[in-house]
């Protein structure tokens, strides 16, 4: 495979600085009646620049809110979010985001949606056609560049969404249950594609899911959260060697032991 050159050098911090650091992060939402609902209840976490970290926890526990805080979309009530050692105020540079639903712009074609990533990521005009072609082929969307999102299946839309994020060349990818709405087979295929891309050129990823097997298959490290407000209850380093073959993993005894351990952590709360 040709070099993907997925992440541009957004400048800034040396590689010894953690890509993301959370220090006693609290986030609360203001309710309509004036009260306040704690979503994140004191989380400290550090993510290395090339690390794949998966956050698991019960639905609605506040994992997504943690990603939003890192992306500068919500403000901490207390504590601090650092990206590249700098305190986050508004969306920081070089951060790609992916939601459970595709959030493609429906009036643009797949190609134009990917262009949005190229344009906002500052890819020079002259390089755009080549990068676009490379991305479409990487995501097996070659024949769909001129299709509108409404004409595609859910899996293809998520691939296009991933394409837009990769086109932006983020140094940090925040993925909020990106494959959660897909059927089991498509989910597996998307996981494989993500690993293929990431193993070719490692970047920091924070990935939220409530699928434990998906978490273990993808991650360097799995962080387990309590029900809302989110607190870290356990942490598992996943030492299964890479590159990983997601389909074969299920028969690996280490895989079984890890998923079992994480289940136990989740059920204990």
């Amino acid at each position: 495979m040709a070099p993907l050159d997925l992440a541009k050098n957004w400048g800034g911090a040396p590689s010894t600085t953690p890509k993301v650091a959370l220090r006693d992060l609290h986030v609360a939402f203001t309710l309509a009646d004036g009260g306040s609902l704690p979503a994140v209840g004191g989380v400290s976490l550090s993510v290395a620049p090339n690390e794949f970290v998966v956050l698991v926890g019960p639905s609605g526990c506040g994992k997504s809110t943690i990603l939003r805080a890192i992306a500068g979309l919500v403000e901490p009530a207390r504590g601090e979010v650092l990206v590249d050692g700098t305190s986050v105020a508004g969306p920081p540079e070089g951060v790609g985001f992916m939601f459970q639903k595709d959030t493609l712009l429906p009036w643009l074609t797949v190609g134009e949606n990917i262009s949005v990533g190229l344009e906002l990521g500052g890819t020079p005009v002259a390089d755009r056609p080549a990068r676009m072609a490379a991305l479409l082929s990487l995501l097996r969307l070659d024949e769909f560049g001129n299709h509108h999102p409404a004409q595609l299946s859910g899996g293809m839309r998520q691939r296009a969404s991933l394409g837009r994020m990769l086109a932006y060349r983020p140094a940090l990818m925040l993925m909020d249950e990106p494959f959660g709405a897909l059927d089991a087979l498509t989910k597996l295929a998307m996981g494989r594609e993500l690993l293929r891309v990431w193993e070719a050129e490692r970047r920091a990823i924070l990935f939220v899911t409530h699928d434990i097997e998906e978490a273990v298959a993808l991650a360097d490290r799995v962080i387990v959260f309590s029900p809302r407000p989110a607190r870290i209850v356990a942490e598992h380093r996943i030492d299964i060697p890479r590159p990983r073959d997601i389909r074969r993993l299920r028969t690996d005894p280490a895989f079984g032991a890890l998923t079992q351990a994480i289940w136990t952590d989740l059920e204990g709360h």
Binding site: R68, L73, F97, F99, L105, P106, L108, V116, E119, A150
Partner: protein, 268 residues
């Protein structure tokens, strides 16, 4: 996102026996109009006095005479430019105001009573004032037409912006999209369906504005011609003016449908 154009496009299920082809639909349409005109023609002078109803053949003849004398193009052009300019400037002013209001909810809450008050006002009643302020020339009628369509564009644009998926906006924010980029790639395309729906409603409303202006004070225009004919108890003349107005509205609507088909390909 709720869907303005869908309401317009939603057709009742077609009866099985009616043919599907677009040409057959056209043939049925022409047939229906021909039958209505024929019924009018035959009934006039028999079922009711054609002094009051005129008849299609006489109206057609009058329109032909007007076309020959140059009167038709003079009046038609006057009314079309009044309504067209009103529609254009109404869209041009109403749309950005609508976007701005949807983007600034605090300001929107403050100005809401003012907007709803002006919107609720029967703008036809403004015609005498507009004639006083702007004279009996083009400007007063353009302002009338504009006042009719402005709020349609404003309210629809605001509603369109409010209907955009907030996650889509958040995603663009994480990529640090600037204000103009958002306007070009998100806000404007998102409200195109709403603007088209506004334009469809606006065609009729801007014609009303222009014609009302002509009724109050003018020396040309289809509204003026209808009014003048009525004053002379010339029902044929009045109907001739109405027919031309109707044709303008139908053609403008078809033009919008054409543009809609091109702009909204992504929805199919």
């Amino acid at each position: 996102m709720s869907d303005p154009a869908a309401v317009i496009e939603a057709a009742p299920p077609r009866a099985a026996r009616l043919p599907d082809s677009i040409w057959s639909v056209q043939a049925w349409r022409v047939g229906l109009i021909a039958v209505l005109l024929l019924a009018w023609e035959l009934a006039a002078g028999r079922l009711f006095d054609d002094f009051w109803s005129s008849r299609p053949s006489e109206i057609a003849e009058r329109i032909w005479q007007m076309a020959m004398s140059g009167e038709l193009s003079r009046h038609t052009w006057a009314t079309i430019s009044e309504a067209g300019l009103g529609l254009f400037f109404g869209a041009l002013i109403g749309t950005p105001l609508g976007i701005a209001l949807a983007r600034g909810p605090r300001v929107a809450r403050v100005v809401d009573p003012v907007i709803m008050g002006l919107y609720g006002l029967p703008r036809v009643a403004l015609a005498p004032l507009f004639i006083l302020w702007f004279g009996i020339g083009l400007t007063a009628k353009v302002m009338m037409a504009l006042s009719m369509v402005l709020f349609v564009f404003l309210l629809n644009a605001a509603e369109g912006v409010r209907g955009i998926d907030p996650d889509m906006i958040d995603l663009m924010r994480t990529m640090r999209a600037g204000r103009w980029y958002m306007l070009r790639r998100v806000w404007l395309p998102a409200i195109v369906p709403w603007l088209i729906a506004s334009a469809r409603i606006g065609v009729g409303l801007s014609l009303i504005g222009a014609v009302v202006g002509e009724l109050i004070g003018a020396n040309r225009g289809l509204g003026w011609y209808v009014n003048k004919s009525g004053g002379q108890i010339d029902t044929t003349g009045a109907f001739a003016g109405l027919v031309v107005l109707m044709v303008i509205a139908v053609i403008a609507n078809q033009a919008i449908i054409l543009v809609e088909g091109r702009l909204l390909k992504w929805r199919r």
